[in-house]
């Protein structure tokens, strides 16, 4: 990687530093034990049950605890508010609760609260964001004793712990009743290590360490007392604020910006993993046109050979990003296949095209909704083998509309698996029969994927996923591109590390002494 110091505007450095003198906001930093985090996208609610945004996930890891959580080191699902659990059968899970967990309002967590939370989620009326997913596997919840609940599943579902860990924070009995619920003083009544003291929708969320948090939680004793999440949609502003001390950390920094800014004094760069992968889906099923060139294997293979994934990953994605060869993130459970790789080879690509009957190429639209630079680089690669590509770069909602109505010949997209280190979240989501993202039209493959999702035995699951992934690679349904890398910019005073799944856990942050 070639890194150039920002010479032409060296004085910019001084200027940006001068910004520090400005009384922007109450200063962040160790002086008042206050960590200010910049959010690019506004959060419209602090209740994780009603938000699926990534920002919501990051926040809820501070304010909420579920029965389980994802261990940042191993990425395994381990008990959190639960003391222990036991699979009574393939479809029956019993969970024992801790007895020292209290809500932010001081009341203790009881089995009633757990039952209430899950019943609320699977109730159609409640309209929670994760309801449909949970309903698909959870039949009912029942209280077995003061600290014991039982979950009755509709079918064997290995990812139940994942869902409980990521999607279902525990709520106090009656939270969503007319009378109960949120007030201005207490926007959220969770059991996490931080409590919400102020919530200004779309602008700011203020958290304070919850001193009554249960001592033997893996998340116990966070170092920093106050946390503020400020919504600053503009990257440039975030940079200026970071340099002037208005914020302590910014996330999702584009690599170019990270390169530039990290050379200024007073800024530290942190690179981290992300479980997100980028890929191109090709209309192998011929949804757009039964005669579509993409229905031919050789065309799909040609495209796989045409794209210079190494160069794109190295120069554009950068950081810890790696080229991926299969339809999943290598860190995910079950993501180990041995099917064919397609190295960059434009000559071979042209040859394959000719063999498929397109010596002069053909024209098609490539749809994309994020990382325009990469999309452009892909287009450039494809043009080099004689294809006439029209890049349709659109917003997500348009993208979805067209994708869901199966009107795309090819699209570049990415998927973060909701931070789940399991192939079911990537391969499963993309190749299930009912998935709008599935353009393979391969029913056998869909069956394999479903089978993997409903199998508890880890080895059997691994085998099924290998089978599916190899099939995808052989048929070249996808062009798997790369895994992402995350860039953080932070004040050097902050000590913080990025977990493997890419979802920051700010309760781990500390001030450097």
């Amino acid at each position: 990687m070639r890194i150039r110091p920002p010479v032409p505007f060296g004085n910019c450095l001084i200027g940006l530093l001068a910004l520090c003198a400005l009384p922007f906001h109450a200063n962040a930093g160790p002086e008042d034990d206050r960590l200010v985090v910049a959010l690019s996208k506004p959060l419209t609610t602090v209740d994780r049950l009603y938000s699926i945004q990534r920002e919501g996930l990051i926040l809820s890891r501070l304010t909420d605890d579920g029965l389980f959580f994802v261990d940042p080191q191993t990425l395994e699902f381990v008990p959190l508010a639960a003391a222990s659990y036991e699979w009574v059968s393939d479809t029956r899970l019993e969970v024992m609760l801790r007895d020292d967990v209290v809500f932010h309002d001081g009341s203790p967590l009881t089995a009633e609260d757990v039952v209430y939370t899950f019943e609320w989620v699977i109730n159609e009326e409640s309209d929670t964001s994760r309801g449909p997913v949970i309903r698909s596997w959870l039949e009912s919840v029942e209280k077995l004793g003061p600290g014991k609940v039982r979950f009755n599943l509709k079918l064997p579902y290995p990812m139940a712990l994942r869902d409980m860990a990521i999607s279902i924070p525990l709520r106090k009995h009656g939270t969503y009743d007319e009378a109960g619920g949120e007030t201005d003083e207490q926007p959220l009544n969770g059991i996490g290590p931080y409590r919400v003291t102020e919530f200004r929708a779309g602008r700011e969320i203020v958290l304070e360490r919850f001193e009554d948090y249960y001592r033997d939680s893996p998340k116990a004793n966070p170092a920093i007392r106050n946390m503020v999440f400020r919504v600053i949609p503009d990257q440039g502003t975030q940079q200026a604020e970071l340099l002037s001390g208005g914020i302590d950390i910014m996330m999702d920094v584009p690599p170019d910006v990270a390169d530039n800014v990290s050379h200024l004094p007073g800024v530290k760069r942190l690179e981290g993993n992300d479980i997100r992968i980028g890929y191109i889906t090709l209309d192998a099923a011929g949804y757009t046109d039964p005669e579509s060139p993409f229905t031919r294997l050789k065309v799909r293979q040609a495209i796989n050979h045409a794209i210079n994934r190494e160069e794109i990953t190295r120069y554009l994605v950068r950081g810890s990003a790696e080229v991926v060869h299969f339809a999943c993130h290598p860190r995910q459970f079950g993501c180990n296949a041995d099917g064919p790789h397609y190295p960059y080879n434009p000559e071979k690509a042209k040859q394959l095209l000719a063999e498929a009957g397109y010596p002069d190429g053909f024209s098609f639209k490539l749809w994309a909704y994020r990382e325009k630079i990469i999309a452009e680089a892909v287009v450039s690669n494809l043009k080099a083998i004689g294809l006439d590509v029209d890049l349709r770069f659109v917003k997500l909602n348009v993208f979805s509309k067209v994708r869901n109505s199966k009107d795309m010949q090819a699209f570049f997209a990415s998927y973060g698996s909701g931070g789940t280190a399991d192939a079911s979240a990537s391969t499963g989501v993309h190749f299930a029969a009912n998935s709008a993202r599935n353009y393979s039209g391969d029913e056998a493959l869909a069956d394999t994927v479903i089978a993997a999702e409903q199998t508890i035995d880890p080895d059997e699951r691994k085998r099924l996923y290998r089978q599916a992934l190899n099939r995808i690679a052989e048929q070249a349904y996808w062009v798997p591109m790369f895994s992402y890398s995350q860039n953080f910019l932070l004040t050097p005073e902050l000590e913080f590390s990025v977990p493997k799944d890419g979802v920051p856990r700010f309760w781990q942050a500390t001030w450097r002494q």
């Binding site: 070639r2 150039r4 920002p6 010479v7 032409p8 505007f9 910019c12 940006l16 990257q235 440039g236 940079q239 584009p254 170019d256 910006v257 530039n260 800014v261 160069e311 794109i312 190295r314 120069y315 554009l316 325009k372 630079i373 999309a375 452009e376 680089a377 287009v379 450039s380 043009k383 029209d390 890049l391 349709r392 770069f393 659109v394 917003k395 348009v398």
Partner: protein, 313 residues
């Protein structure tokens, strides 16, 4: 109906001057010649025309004049600075962008896009606006009311939002941008055409045409329209400038010209994230835009000064 009688007066300077600049034989210059004569003395017009000519040459012959292929990516040569700064090279005079494409070549090709969009959109606007204005002004009555309603609708919605919504929903492409900008910039033509038509309709030469048996269509097209040409021309140039700025704004907001086409607005948007560190990425296309638009505006103002004479009416 209550017409004030035309009167003899030497109070107004205009009538002293009519007919303007008689020669010995009592004949003045023809309108075209007179306008050309004035044009030669109009500095703004000359400057504007000169700049435009140069830019038009660049736009027309971009493939031959640009040093590189504007689409050619070289990922290992990303964001080179311009030649005059440290690290710049003569190979890439104005540096490269975030995909390693030659910035100068993209700027030159960008002139093409701006001009195409400007001319295309302004023409579409002109066709819509002039037609509606002529119809509304000439026929009046409920047609005028209906057109007026359309105008109110058009004016009441913030035009940039409307354009954005349309492009967003229809999809991005050069054609779509041209049509959408054109279809939302006809009010100015309409208002001017309509009021001029209303005024012309009352003039006696229209009555004379009526009396000689011309059809309404003939009158509107053969008698009224030629008299609007000057004004339409002036509006056209100004609307070209407006359309170019609109396109740049749209592209800047990410709803205009699709990548990888080198639109100046898009280039500014792409350079924006790095604007504190690679400011040329933002400054250069902006200057190009500014020069093009100011040249068009100078030309437009000049054309107006030159063609709109202080005639009697």
């Amino acid at each position: 109906m209550m017409t004030t009688r035309q009167t003899l007066s030497d109070a107004s300077i205009a009538s002293v001057e009519t007919p303007p600049g008689h020669d010995e034989a009592g004949l003045g210059l023809s309108p075209t010649m007179a306008a050309l004569k004035r044009a030669r003395k109009h500095h703004g017009l000359k400057i504007g025309f000169g700049i435009l000519l140069v830019m038009a040459v660049f736009a027309l012959f971009a493939p031959w004049l640009a040093p590189h292929d504007p689409y050619m990516q070289n990922l290992s040569l990303r964001m080179l600075p311009p030649v005059w700064t440290e690290g710049g090279s003569w190979e890439y005079l104005l540096g490269t962008d975030h995909l390693g494409r030659d910035y100068l070549s993209r700027l030159i090709h960008g002139a093409r896009i701006s001009m195409t969009i400007g001319l295309g959109a302004a023409s579409i606007g002109a066709v819509i606006g002039v037609t509606l204005g002529l119809i509304a002004g000439y026929f009046g009555g409920w047609i005028d009311q209906a057109v007026n309603f359309l105008v109110t609708c058009q004016l009441a919605v913030p035009s940039l939002l409307l354009i954005m919504a349309l492009v967003f929903v229809i999809g991005q492409s050069v054609t779509v941008v041209i049509f959408v900008i054109g279809a939302t910039h006809w009010v100015f033509y309409l208002v001017v055409t309509r009021s001029a038509t209303l005024r012309l309709r009352e003039l006696d030469f229209v009555a004379a045409a009526n009396a000689m048996g011309c059809s309404k269509f003939q009158i509107a097209v053969r008698e009224v329209l030629p008299n609007l040409v000057n004004q339409i021309m002036v509006i056209f140039t100004l609307e070209v400038a407006v359309a170019i700025l609109n396109e740049a704004t749209l592209s800047f907001l990410g709803l205009g010209i699709p990548s990888p086409l080198p639109s100046w607005g898009l280039m500014i948007a792409e350079g924006k994230t790095a604007m504190f560190f690679q400011p040329w990425l933002v400054i250069l296309p902006g200057i190009a835009l500014f020069i093009l638009v100011i040249a068009i505006n100078l030309l437009g103002d000049g054309v107006r000064d030159v063609t709109v004479t202080n005639r009697r009416n």
